[in-house]
């Protein structure tokens, strides 16, 4: 229970609602207090005005016509009901009560005022508290003949009015408080909705392991909406990578099965035949096959590392002419043997910022491909040049070209056009080329006309 409470207290929504309600209530309270104080002050002022005007009027009547006139005026007032009930007291020079009238239901002990009178002297205000808690406000004035003239009024009605007002305020305050809490809750509830969606999505993914769940985006332009969008984009990326990994794992599994099957069948048939020479042959085949598997794994690892950006590149200034020279040197004999003429056309000073060995691997792979598919009497050209901000490495052959339907897929892993299936090859070379080049922020394009040869162009950002 307490942990639940803690969690509630810790919840962002709860805290926000609380702050909201607190601010809302504090302002309401301040407003109420101000109106209350103003109201109380103005009521008090009204009472005082009444007392002083009455005092002035009665004193004038007394001075003009003595007690009889005062009596008439008071009686006329009472009959007319013009004024609220007041206390009127006239005290003579020798402290004898000349006149006294007080509404019957008032319970004030005027004796208490005796000392007060002297202290007040000529004129002033005094307050007298009754036994039932009411307060009598009394204004006094000393007439020229020495009599003390007093008019008082009970604050009872004022107190009643203020009490009613307080009651109203309290009721209003309570409903406002309710409104504040409810409003705060509703506000934070709706504001935090994207976060709750996010939490729900993450929890769903963690619990089910399905990466398809996405955060619903209601307001794409607000801060949390942007977070949701970004989160979804990240999920897309992860799902893509997972898919690619699963795909490449499937590919690896698939493409390992074939050579493993070859290994098995070679070993099996050799064991069955039992001949020593056959066994030697089979063992040699098995070795070659296993080398092929190892090299395939190596390339697959390179490709996946390059594609996921984890391939370590030791970047340095590399002169493409040197790369071209090295590749030419590697294939010179093979090309000569196959009756293919090999040409280099490398401009000097075409420089890129790249991993030298990886770049040599790219050139060698492309040249290997070209030499492999170019028939006797053909021509293979390796060129490097600069075009604007790009350094280009071009391998052009006069081979059979690539049919348009194959072109988009030649860079796919382990894809080989039908024509090349009979030839030995891993079908990974071009995938590796593309992966390495893209890891260098470059691209590979292919130009080909069936029967008219192919040209592979590696585009890399040239360095200055």
């Amino acid at each position: 229970m307490s942990s639940r409470l803690d969690r509630l207290r810790g919840a962002l929504g709860f805290r926000l609602a609380l702050y909201y309600a607190a601010v809302f209530l504090a302002s309401t309270l301040a407003l109420a207090a101000i109106t209350y104080v103003l109201l109380a002050a103005s009521l008090r002022q009204a009472d005082h005005d009444l007392i002083t005007t009455t005092l002035r009027r009665y004193a004038a009547a007394y001075q003009r016509g003595g007690l009889p006139l005062l009596n008439r005026v008071i009686t006329a007032d009472r009959v007319a009901g013009r004024y609220e009930p007041v206390l009127v007291r006239v005290i003579g020079e020798r402290s004898e009560a000349v006149y006294f009238s007080m509404p019957a239901d008032w319970r004030f002990d005027l004796e208490q005022l005796a000392g007060e009178e002297r202290r007040l002297g000529a004129a002033g205000w005094a307050e007298l508290r009754s036994l039932d808690g009411n307060v009598l406000e009394i204004a006094s004035t000393r007439l020229p003949d020495g009599t003390l003239f007093q008019v008082g009024k009970s604050t009872e009605r004022r107190a009643e009015l203020l009490a009613r007002y307080r009651g109203t305020l309290l009721a209003a305050f309570l409903s406002v408080a309710l409104l504040a809490v409810a409003g705060g809750y509703a506000l934070t509830h709706s504001a935090l909705r994207p976060l709750r969606d996010l939490t729900a999505t993450v929890r769903a993914i963690l619990q089910t392991g399905h990466m398809q769940a996405r955060v619903p985006v209601r307001q794409p332009r607000d801060t949390l909406g942007e977070l949701s969008l970004l989160f979804n984009a990240m999920l897309d990326r992860i799902e893509g990578l997972l898919g690619a990994m699963r795909g490449s794992l499937d590919n690896v599994a698939h493409d390992l099965r074939t050579p493993l099957m070859r290994l098995r069948s070679r070993a099996e048939s050799a064991l069955e035949s039992g001949g020593e020479e056959a066994c030697r042959e089979a063992l040699a085949d098995c070795l070659e096959e296993s080398d092929r598997v190892a090299s395939m794994l190596e390339i697959l690892m390179d490709i996946s590392e390059a594609e996921t950006g984890t391939l370590r590149l030791q970047k340095q200034r590399v002169d493409l002419a040197g790369v071209v020279r090295d590749a030419m040197d590697l294939y010179a004999d093979v090309a000569e043997d196959r009756g293919i003429s090999l040409h280099a056309d490398a401009a000097e000073d075409v420089c890129v910022h790249a991993d030298r060995n990886r770049l040599r691997q790219v050139a060698a792979n492309l040249l290997d491909n070209a030499v492999k598919y170019t028939p006797r009497g053909g021509r293979v050209e390796l060129a490097a040049r600069r075009e604007g901000a790009e350094a280009l490495l071009i391998v052009r052959d006069t081979g059979p070209g690539i049919p348009p339907e194959d072109r988009p897929r030649i860079f796919d892993r382990l894809y080989r056009g039908d024509r090349s299936r009979s030839e030995r090859g891993l079908g990974l070379g071009l995938s590796l080329v593309r992966a390495i080049v893209e890891a260098h922020q470059g691209g590979v394009t292919v130009d080909s006309t069936p029967g008219g040869g192919s040209a592979f162009t590696v585009h890399l950002p040239a360095c200055d």
Partner: protein
Amino acid sequence: MRLLVVEDDPTIASFLVKGLQGAGFTVDHATSGGDALHLASSSDYAVAVVDVMLPGMDGLALIEEMRRRRVRTPVIILSARRSVDDRVKGLQAGGDDYLTKPFAFAELLARVQALIRRATGAADPTRLAVGDLTLDLVTRRVERAGRPIELRPREFALLEYLMRNAGRVVSKPMILSHVWDYSFDPRTNVVDVLVHRLREKLDKDFDRKRIRTVRGMGYVLEA
């Protein structure tokens, strides 16, 4: 010369031990890091070949412990992990060379010998001789039975490499990396073509063929 092989997989261990014995070494074999540490600290080995994945103390910990105990035996690390980081870690732990499984035995042997050469500081000869074949590294003259043979630079590099490893198989990737400094798997027969050319010049006029193809493994220059 005495070598130490630390490998827990029995098949690979016996392959390594037999192969190294066949190459003329005396070989001790340990299957765990603890045993290996004991052996390495008690006797003097020319080279230790250490697998990374071992039960108990792993290969890297073993090498670090050896280095802490001032055992300076050169170490070749064998590992099924190929990333640059693993390689760096292995070399930082105190290894001298790093070989990724699967590897050809010839590759391991070449590295063992390179380490021994480095450790003993044997001066590089300026002239190599195998049977009736001589190769002068300074004048770049090659003769067989007193008859000069004209070689192109790549053929010369290949012959030098074969002669340095005379009697031992060198694999195609080893040749590719040594002659051209390329480490990848060409689909065309780049190496075969060069070997063929060298053969043409070296063996054509002689009954005894020096360069022999070992199917599935590579080439060997017969001593």
